[in-house]
């Protein structure tokens, strides 16, 4: 029987240490798993976890001319992390408000659809300034989709977890219908995809030779802005109070309904923005698959970041490393994808479990007495 004794105060040391403990545990368990699969555990884990960091270090230290090639993998980690961080930061605020938006994947899809609608209906030769209405449309699309669970929750008390989740499937079907119908490229041999976006709608690349794009800046700005909002403004205070103790919030005159609207529109808007950013930066056209599962993964990101918008940046990077590590493990170690899924699952289990240490001491006791 596992017993938890609360600490008088959250441990600052463990707040920093707990991810380290989690990673050590994952390395041990992962090492056993790799050994069981007949791989050298040290080599396997170093490819899985440290390859991007190694290459980043090489980029920093090698002379110009040799260094550039090593930037690609680290930059890809960031590219992968951008949508996760954008969605995760919004969800962190949303969850803090005790509002459970599980359907960010649908809002992400809607953002891609509404942004894509602007991109596909713009006149030829559109310049880069069009990115502004494009991204705005993406954010509005996500907000509109999130407004449905907000409205149904406030007006009819419908559970937002389920409404937002169901809308994810609806959004996926809507995108599917659009790219096979109204948005289909007439010159595309009937394949389900839109025309490619014009240059004006492509996110600018920050570093030549990589796909590192402006979205990275957006993600950092969003995270910092949300962090400031949560810690320095009245609105952030309201969100935290309503989230932690709705009755106390009501007593203080804060409206729970308005907080629900705020939390859902904010997280939906960021998810929609992420959808527009991702489509513009990487696939550059609409197609049935636009990685909407980021909306689900971002839930984990928000919790890895301890529901702190800046923490979500780090959570996104951890997840991105584990995804790219999984690909590298398939290429370099010839491990099947299933193993990388198990490994990722373990990493998340340990990370989630170890955060308990911040607030509690763990004691093992004989079963039978609670």
């Amino acid at each position: 029987m596992i017993l938890l004794d609360p600490r008088p105060q959250p441990s600052r040391a463990l707040a920093l240490l707990s991810p380290v403990i989690a990673i050590v545990l994952t390395l041990v368990a992962g090492g056993i798993l790799m050994a069981a699969m007949g791989k050298d555990p040290v080599e396997a884990l170093s490819i899985y976890f440290f390859q991007p960091f190694k290459e980043f270090w090489l980029w920093l230290t090698l002379p110009p001319g040799e260094a550039e090639m090593w930037l690609y993998t680290p930059s890809e980690v960031v590219v992968k992390a951008i949508p996760l961080a954008l969605i995760g930061a919004g969800l962190a605020v949303c969850f803090r408000a005790n509002v459970w938006n599980i359907g960010a994947a649908g809002q992400y899809t809607l953002g891609a659809i509404t942004g894509g609608w602007i991109a596909l209906s713009a006149p030829d030769g559109a310049s880069g300034i069009w990115l502004v209405p494009y991204l705005a449309a993406g954010a509005l699309g996500g907000m509109a989709w999130a407004a449905i669970p907000a409205l149904l929750r406030v007006r009819f008390n419908a559970n937002e977890i389920l409404v937002s989740l169901m809308l994810t499937y609806v959004a996926a079907q809507l995108l599917d219908w659009l790219v096979r119908g109204p948005f289909k490229d007439p010159a595309g041999f009937g394949f389900p995809e839109s025309k490619e976006f014009q240059d004006g709608f492509i996110m600018p690349v920050l570093v030549g030779g990589t796909r590192l794009h402006l979205g990275a800046v957006l993600a950092i700005v969003a995270a910092v802005a949300l962090w400031l909002m949560m810690t320095r403004t009245m609105k952030g205070f309201q969100v935290r109070v309503i989230g932690a103790a709705p009755r106390a919030g009501a007593f203080a005159g804060f409206s729970q309904d308005r907080t629900i609207w705020f939390a859902l529109l904010l997280s939906g808007g960021l998810a929609g923005l992420a959808g527009a950013v991702e489509v513009s930066a990487t696939v550059q056209q609409l197609q049935p698959q636009i990685s909407a599962e980021y909306g689900f993964v971002a839930i984990i990101v928000a919790f890895l970041g301890r529901l702190n918008p800046i923490g979500a940046l780090f959570g996104a990077l951890i997840l991105a490393v584990s995804y790219i590590g999984g690909e590298n493990a398939q290429i370099m170690l010839k491990l099947p994808k299933a193993v990388t899924g198990i490994f990722q699952g373990m990493l998340l289990f340990f990370l989630l479990a170890c955060d308990t240490l911040i607030h509690y001491r763990i004691r093992l006791a004989a079963p039978g007495r609670a």
């Binding site: 219908w177 699952g345 998340l348």
Partner: protein
Amino acid sequence: MENFFFQMIIAATPLLLAAIGELVTERSGVLNLGVEGMMLMGAVSAFAVANSTGSSTLGIVAGAGAGLLMALIFCVIALSLLANQAATGLALTIFGIGASGLIGQGFVGVALEPLAKLSVPFLSDATMLGRILLGHDVMVYLALALAAGVAWFLYSTRGGLALRAVGDNHDSGHALGYNVIGIRYLATMFGGACAGLGGAYLSLAYTPMWAENMTAGRGWIALALVVFATWRPWRVVAGAYLFAAVTQLQFYGQDWGLPVASQFLAMAPYVATILALVIISRDVNLTKANAPACIGRPFRAER
């Protein structure tokens, strides 16, 4: 039409099994979003055991056992160590997809005899109702029996009372002397076992084979069903059949020539759930009488 309903019952069964288990889990105040992962582990374990031993009974047991073990992982992390339940459940699904793929490697492309259909002499064929309701395999009826059992347990036994008390208000449940964590462990593991059975139904009866990711999102539908049913066992049964009917309409509708794009038919079940959810949730009493108030909230005994 007859086939439509017959097929609807089959399509509803994995949803019903997984949802009735999740209902018990949620009624105890735990939200486990890992149903999809537990179903997949149930599916692969059931197939592996049934294929190796030749016994579908052992396969069914293995499916339930695998789901139960998955739920145990969830319990340790989310109930004992108080990690967030939504995130833990999602991680469980990622883990389950991976682990089931690995276990199933050797079983791809292997066929299995489908679970035997029961037949009641004369009655099975005589009437249309007989043809629709009778002549299914044993798990179809097991699912219904399970729903009946859960309904009886929740509302007619002391254990059920304790379970609901713990889910509605864990602090007062604890004050009454209930072992909150113990009850939630049991409820969650029961939910896992049922999800495993749902997976086993897919790999043993519905489409008797193993293929990676063969649940294709049914775990998520089961989660929707529980809320759709406002946490009532018999409504879960009705909801599962309704949901399956709408899914079947996607196919029979094309056959009957319904003039609607198939994507919109595919959307229909989800839109229907949202609408039903709205109708049910409008009545505060209706929701309050059924919804476990403590759902998703961690509990730690103070004493």
